[in-house]
Every structure is written in structure tokens, then in C-alpha cells.
Amino acid sequence: MEGLNNLRVSEVNIYPVKSCAGIALTSGRVVDTGFEHDREWMIVDGEGNFITQRQHPKLALVSVILFPGGVRLAAEGRSPLDVPILIEGTRIQTEVWESPCIGIDQGESVESWLTDFMGRQARLIRMAPDFKRPVKEKYQSEKKEVVGFADGFPFLLISEASLEDLNSRLAEKLPMNRFRPNIVVAGGTPYQEDAWQKIKIGDVVLRAAKPCSRCEITTVDQATGEKGIEPLETLGTYRTKPKGIMFGQNLAHEGPGTIAVGDPVELL
């Protein structure tokens, strides 16, 4: 009965600027790092350390629009800013969870926009075009996968059924955007993605690389930028594994292609 299941992709999301608002797509082009433009940009402080909603929850309120050759940042009460891609410029050495990355500073106008919004010095960097960030060696396959500024892997997948199970334990239901997945799957059973090894969506074969251990960003209301305490408190009571509180599955892919809302999910 392989392939005969009722699993379908129900959401495709990208987060062009790490930790800012995401963009829902009907179809996503898959490139070497994951979905095209996912976590292509990142915010760093004056010393090049990455800044996320963990330190600055209000980043959830920065919306992002892609336009040919750049990205537009907007937030309530502020003039939107178009940031054309700078291919060359100051190279900034940074790290995402101990994994070294090189970004190109995207200029002073976005630096002052972000610094003003955040109340602290902040710059926007874009992954240097000549830099490839490998997935951590321990979790690589022989394909030597690469990734953008995501925490560690090209994709994060979560089942709607997993969220429904979590919500049945919470006093106040939470939306899927708390978990910032790239691919959401409808159908099937809660936490089915824990046990998946290899799947095919559209023309893309994906391998389960590591369950996703969750941080405080899941406690930030993505509509208000307010930080609460759930779902981590509740997840901590029943989803604790040796490496943390798990929710969702990180995936790495075998090659380029397209993944679209409505695509069946085939378990290989």
C-alpha cells in the first residue's frame, strides 16, 4: 500500500530573513539550501552575533516581501524599506549555533532601519554568494548537504495532527506559526514525522535528519511579538527526549525540485 495514504502538503512557508515574519507560498522552488530564499538573510549585532526572536521577540512583527533583486522590510508605524541585494561589501564572519557562516553586510540604510526598530545596533547580512554552509558533519549524508542561515537543516516539517494533539493539551490553542515550519502536512497521526526516514514530495526526495529540539521562540506570539510560556511548559511534560523538547522533523533533500501545497507525501 506504499504511497497510498492521505498525506498532503497543506502549507509551504519560507522565512527569507531569519526570525522575521514568514511568507506562505502555494509552491516553493527547492534549491541546494532548501526552499529558495529561505533564511537567505539574517540580523546580526555590532559584533556579528546573530539576533533572533529569542533575544528580541518583536522581530516577529517585521514583515518581509521579496522583490526581484531584494527584500522589503516593513513594520507598523514605520516606512517600509527596500533593501536591494548587495553582492559585494563588508564580509561578516558569524555563527549559527556554533556553525561558522559568512555574510555580506547589506548596507547602512537597513542598518539604521533595524537599529531604530530594535533599539540596539543591528545589521542585515545576506549569505555570501561564494560561501556554502555545510549541514553539521554528523548529520550529513554522502550528498554533503548545505543550508542557509536556518538553525541547522534545509527544511522543518510538522504534521497538523501533531499540533492538534498539542492543542488538545493546552488551555489556549496555538497556531502552527509558533513553530516556523517550512512544510506542513495534513492527514495521518500525531508525531508520525518522528518515525519517518525518507519521504518524497513532488519531485523531491527528503531524508529525516534530526528531530527538531524547540527553543523559547515557540513561546512568542507571532502576531504581537509578546513572549509567553507555552507551548514549552506543556511540551516539556510529554515531548522531552535526551536532546531536548522535540516537535517537528528536520529534513535534508537529495536534489532540487518543487514542493507545492496539495502535493501528496509519499513514505519511501
Binding site: 549555533w97 527553543c215 513572549k227 514549552l232 511548559e233 522531552t240
Partner: protein, 223 residues
């Protein structure tokens, strides 16, 4: 039942290592906690909060809480917390955290593995364990750049097993065999690991490799 923000007074602020200050806070209303839990701390009225593990033991007399605050260069909150005089007030929310707690009934051996300021929740668990089980078997293993980076090192140096990365190799499987190997085969032994992402990833794999049961291993990412 969710804890809300409340005021807390700094009753003591003292250096506890090269880059960690010990802050002892007296909350307006003291809420019982379990070893390994944390609070969120913020400056009054600010919307920028940070998570800090409790370092004190839930069995200590009095109604205060000790935290270890590492000074983060370019940090938002830690430089402010370092600058506050005793008697100042901040806001705190907690106790929080269900995934890294030590249950007081757990009388079996205890293995604590920490890196740098990841020592704080381990200190709470160690203190609680020693209070409940003064003669219990405990291996408390710490990795740090050097001794000056370990919170309360002078008080702990006789019981800690250390690797100082400025002059020694990092903790690896071979190193752990001696202090942890035999304990890992004991199904009663509990493992608490706290440090950066990579440290947790390696140490969890190491103790599982040595035979620890998955259900007995917990970790907390220090970020």
C-alpha cells in the same frame, strides 16, 4: 496556574567567577520550585527578558533564589543586571521548565555534565541531591575554559571533575569512561547535561554510548 511577572529584590550581588555574578533575589511571593527549573528575568517594564536557571536548592531555608548571571558582551540584559546595586528591584516570572527537573525521590546515582555557565541548574540539582542523599553517588563533570570560569569554583573544586579547555582536551567519550562509565550501566542513574548545543549533542551521544538509558538522560540548552 501560569506564573505571572512579579517584583523581586536583589538581596545580594557578588562575583562568583571571572564572568558570572551570583544574584540572590527575594521575590515578592515565593513559589516552591524543583531543582533544575528556571525563571525569566527582566528590567522593570521592559519587554526584553532572558531565561536564567535557578542555582540554589529548593531545600535551602529562607525564601530567596540564587541565579548565576554571565556577562554577555554586547548583551542587553546581563550588563544591566551586573550594574544593579543590592536593594534594587527587577521583575521575574517562574518557576518554569518541565523538561530538566530533578525529582526528589530519585535516590539513584546522579551524573551532572556541564559546560561553562551551564553549571547553574546543575548546581541546584547537586545541592538538592546532597541535601536529600548526603551519601549518594554523584559525578559532577564540568568543562570550562579555565577554573576562573566556573561559578563558585572555590567551594566546588574538591568535588568537581574538570576539563579546562585552555590547556586540556575537550571532554570526549574516552575521558568520560572513568568517572561515568560504571554509573552509565546502572539503570537507576540519572544524567543531566547543560551547555551549548554542540556540547549537548556530543555528551548525550557519549552517555548513551556508555550505556545510559534514554529515559534517564535530560538536557538543557544554555543559550
Amino acid at each position: 496556574m501560569n506564573p505571572s511577572w512579579q517584583k523581586a529584590k536583589i538581596v545580594k550581588s557578588a562575583p562568583a567567577s571571572f564572568d558570572i555574578r551570583s544574584l540572590v533575589l527575594k521575590p515578592e511571593s515565593y513559589i516552591p520550585y524543583r531543582a533544575g527549573q528556571h525563571y525569566e528575568l527582566r528590567m522593570p517594564g521592559s519587554d526584553i527578558s532572558r531565561k536564567y536557571s535557578i542555582a540554589s536548592s529548593p531545600y535551602e531555608p529562607g525564601d530567596s533564589l540564587e541565579f548565576g548571571v554571565q556577562l554577555i558582551r554586547n548583551g542587553v540584559l546581563s550588563p544591566q543586571l551586573w550594574g544593579l546595586a543590592e536593594g534594587s528591584e527587577i521583575e521575574i516570572r517562574g518557576p518554569l521548565g518541565e523538561s530538566f527537573v530533578w525529582d526528589a525521590d530519585a535516590s539513584g546515582p546522579l551524573v551532572l555534565l556541564g559546560a561553562g555557565s551551564g553549571i547553574t541548574p546543575l548546581l541546584s540539582i547537586y545541592r538538592a541531591y546532597r541535601f536529600k542523599y548526603p551519601h549518594g553517588t554523584c559525578a559532577f563533570v564540568m568543562s570550562a575554559k579555565d577554573a576562573s570560569r566556573i561559578m563558585h569554583y572555590d567551594a566546588l573544586k574538591d568535588i568537581l571533575i574538570t576539563r579546562f579547555t585552555a590547556t586540556e582536551e575537550r571532554i570526549d567519550l574516552g575521558f568520560l569512561k572513568d568517572p561515568v562509565g560504571a554509573l552509565a550501566k546502572n539503570p537507576q542513574a540519572l544524567f543531566y547535561i547543560c551547555g551549548p548545543d554542540g556540547f549537548i549533542d556530543e555528551m548525550v551521544d557519549n552517555v548513551l554510548e556508555l550505556g545510559a538509558l534514554e529515559a534517564n538522560v535530560k538536557s538543557e540548552k544554555f543559550t
